[in-house]
């Protein structure tokens, strides 16, 4: 699993998917997740890292990541 090629992510939180022509806004947390995905991390590694870094409980984070990955898949940003 990883980001599809053709994703352009800029510093200010703008994402362009060259495969579909759609563009998106993301917030800081989403940017962190996408860059970890770019580095080839798995979802559970990302979960562990965010849990360690942020003030959030495990079940909220799990639900939020599930939702975020659902959207990534829906907008065809995930491979595999």
């Amino acid at each position: 699993m990883g980001l599809t090629s053709g994703m352009i992510i800029n510093e200010s939180g703008y994402v362009f998917n060259t495969l579909t022509g759609e563009s998106f806004s993301i917030n800081q947390t989403a940017k962190t997740v996408l860059s970890l995905l770019e580095q080839g991390r798995s979802k559970s590694e990302i979960y562990q890292q965010l849990l360690a870094e942020y003030e959030v409980d495990g079940s909220s984070l799990e639900a939020d990541l599930d939702d975020f990955f659902y959207l990534l898949r829906k907008f065809r940003m995930l491979e595999g």
Binding site: I26, N27, Q28, T29, A30, E55, S60, D67
Partner: protein, 442 residues
């Protein structure tokens, strides 16, 4: 190591749209307290959901309303519309500020009496007064506003039987140029029904017709409707006095002033559209100042304003239960307050705030209640910062018609508190319990 502040990861598709005509403020504006009392503390002490009323806003509203009229007209009286909010503490506050009571049922009548209102300061409206209600009201010298011909007949018969001459008004409905015209209540002006009723009262001479009443509708943002109403009512009073010799001494122009809520059908927000008390007062009194009643009699102006005096003083505090993604990609945020507590969410796009501001990215969200029902939607499309479980959500302008029309359905009715001007928080009403519900069953 200090942990970073967390915000749910957000991915929002940019949909190209035409630039809007109005500059809508899409920044999150946080609200963390009511009159200086932190919301978090209110939740800890009283639980969630929770209705919160602001004493200072209530007093400010009624004082502003009175000021707007009394600086323009010598004799103005407000009668608190019980059905708008009949929590005893709220009614009592208005009575303390000098308001009489306006009731529309025997139950509300009794409530007003228990709140210490003198019976001759109760206005009794409504289309369904029973014989017992009428007897009670006439014995108490209350102002009985007659709704229909049968009631007129019943009351006249009771007056004869009791040897009492009740003080009455007739309720009039009229075309004030707004839609919908409320023609269901009272006697119609344009078709001559109202005049017929007044003629009967005059010729039978058993009732003392001291007033005329009209309530043109509710949430009326068109100030001109009141100008038309006042013109027509003043003309009717003049005729009733000069042609029928009726002792008309007051015009009750009802309620209906809008609050700052936003109607679902409206393009602009209520905060932009709502006329001020001064606007209404100017329209009404400028008409009356021109009318000359017999003997230079000054008509007393009566208002039964409800919504505009209480809506912005009520808040519904609630907590996030969860976020849920719908199959079509939209986000549902579920909170612990449902439409059974917030009847007005069927009418209004209630203003909603959270405790977050300076949020760069917000998400279009459907704000749902906790009921297991599709209709349980508080806002169907509202831009909110990313929220998580237990976050506080504050719903604004809920003071009118909710704590009277709320129902116990799937969940029970929560506590109601008031933030006092001195900063104390008083419990106005307890939360319902299973025992309360079961007590009524056999």
């Amino acid at each position: 190591m200090e942990k970073k502040r967390y915000e749910r990861p957000l991915l929002k598709r940019i949909v190209p749209t035409m630039p809007g005509k109005t500059g809508q403020n899409t920044n999150a504006v946080a609200q963390t307290e009511i009159d200086g009392v932190p919301l978090e503390g209110l939740r800890e002490r009283f639980g969630s959901p929770l209705f919160v009323f602001s004493e200072s806003r209530l007093r400010k509203n009624i004082r502003e309303a009175k000021q707007a009229f009394s600086t323009r007209y010598p004799e103005v009286r407000f009668a608190w519309s019980y059905k708008t909010n009949y929590l005893n503490s709220i009614c009592s506050l208005f009575h303390e500020e000098g308001s009489w009571a306006e009731v529309v049922s025997g139950f509300e009548y009794d409530k007003a009496i228990e709140n210490g209102v003198a019976s001759n300061r109760i206005i009794f409206n409504g289309p369904s007064k029973s014989e017992a209600d009428l007897l009670k009201a006439m014995r108490g010298d209350s102002l009985i506003h007659i709704d229909n011909t049968e009631e007129l007949r019943l009351l006249t018969n009771l007056a004869v039987a009791e040897g009492i001459r009740p003080r009455v008004a007739i309720r009039v409905n009229l075309d004030a140029g707004i839609y919908p015209a409320w023609s269901r209540f009272g006697f119609n002006l344009e078709s001559g029904q109202a005049w017929d009723a007044l003629e009967k009262i005059a010729s039978e001479n058993r009732l003392s017709c001291v007033g005329l009443h009209c309530h043109i509708g509710t949430f009326i943002q068109t100030v001109n409707a009141y100008r038309v109403e006042t013109e027509k009512m003043a003309a009717l009073a003049l005729d009733a006095m000069t042609k029928l010799g009726l002792p008309i001494s007051y015009l009750d122009l009802g309620g209906g002033f809008a609050s700052k809520n936003s109607l679902k059908s409206s393009y602009l927000t209520g905060e932009d559209l709502c006329p001020s008390f001064d606007d209404y007062a100017e329209a009404i009194t400028s008409v009356l100042r021109r009318v000359k009643f017999p003997g230079d009699k000054k008509m007393v102006l009566v208002f039964e304003t409800g919504r505009a005096l209480v809506d912005n003083a009520g808040f519904l505090l609630s907590s996030v239960i969860t976020n849920k993604r719908m199959a079509d990609g939209r986000l549902n945020t579920v909170i612990d307050a449902g439409v059974n507590l917030l009847f007005t969410s069927f009418w209004y796009n209630h203003k909603v705030t959270t405790t977050y501001d300076n949020v760069a990215l917000m998400e279009p969200t459907t704000l749902c209640g906790p009921l297991c029902m599709n209709i349980d939607v508080i806002r169907d499309n509202v831009l909110l910062p990313p929220l998580k479980r237990n976050d506080l959500v504050l719903i604004h302008y809920v003071g009118a018609y909710n704590v009277t029309q709320w129902m116990q359905f799937i969940t029970m009715r929560p506590k109601v508190v008031m933030v006092k001007e001195n900063g104390e928080v008083h419990l106005l009403r307890d939360a319902e319990t299973l025992a309360d519900i079961n007590r009524m069953e056999h």
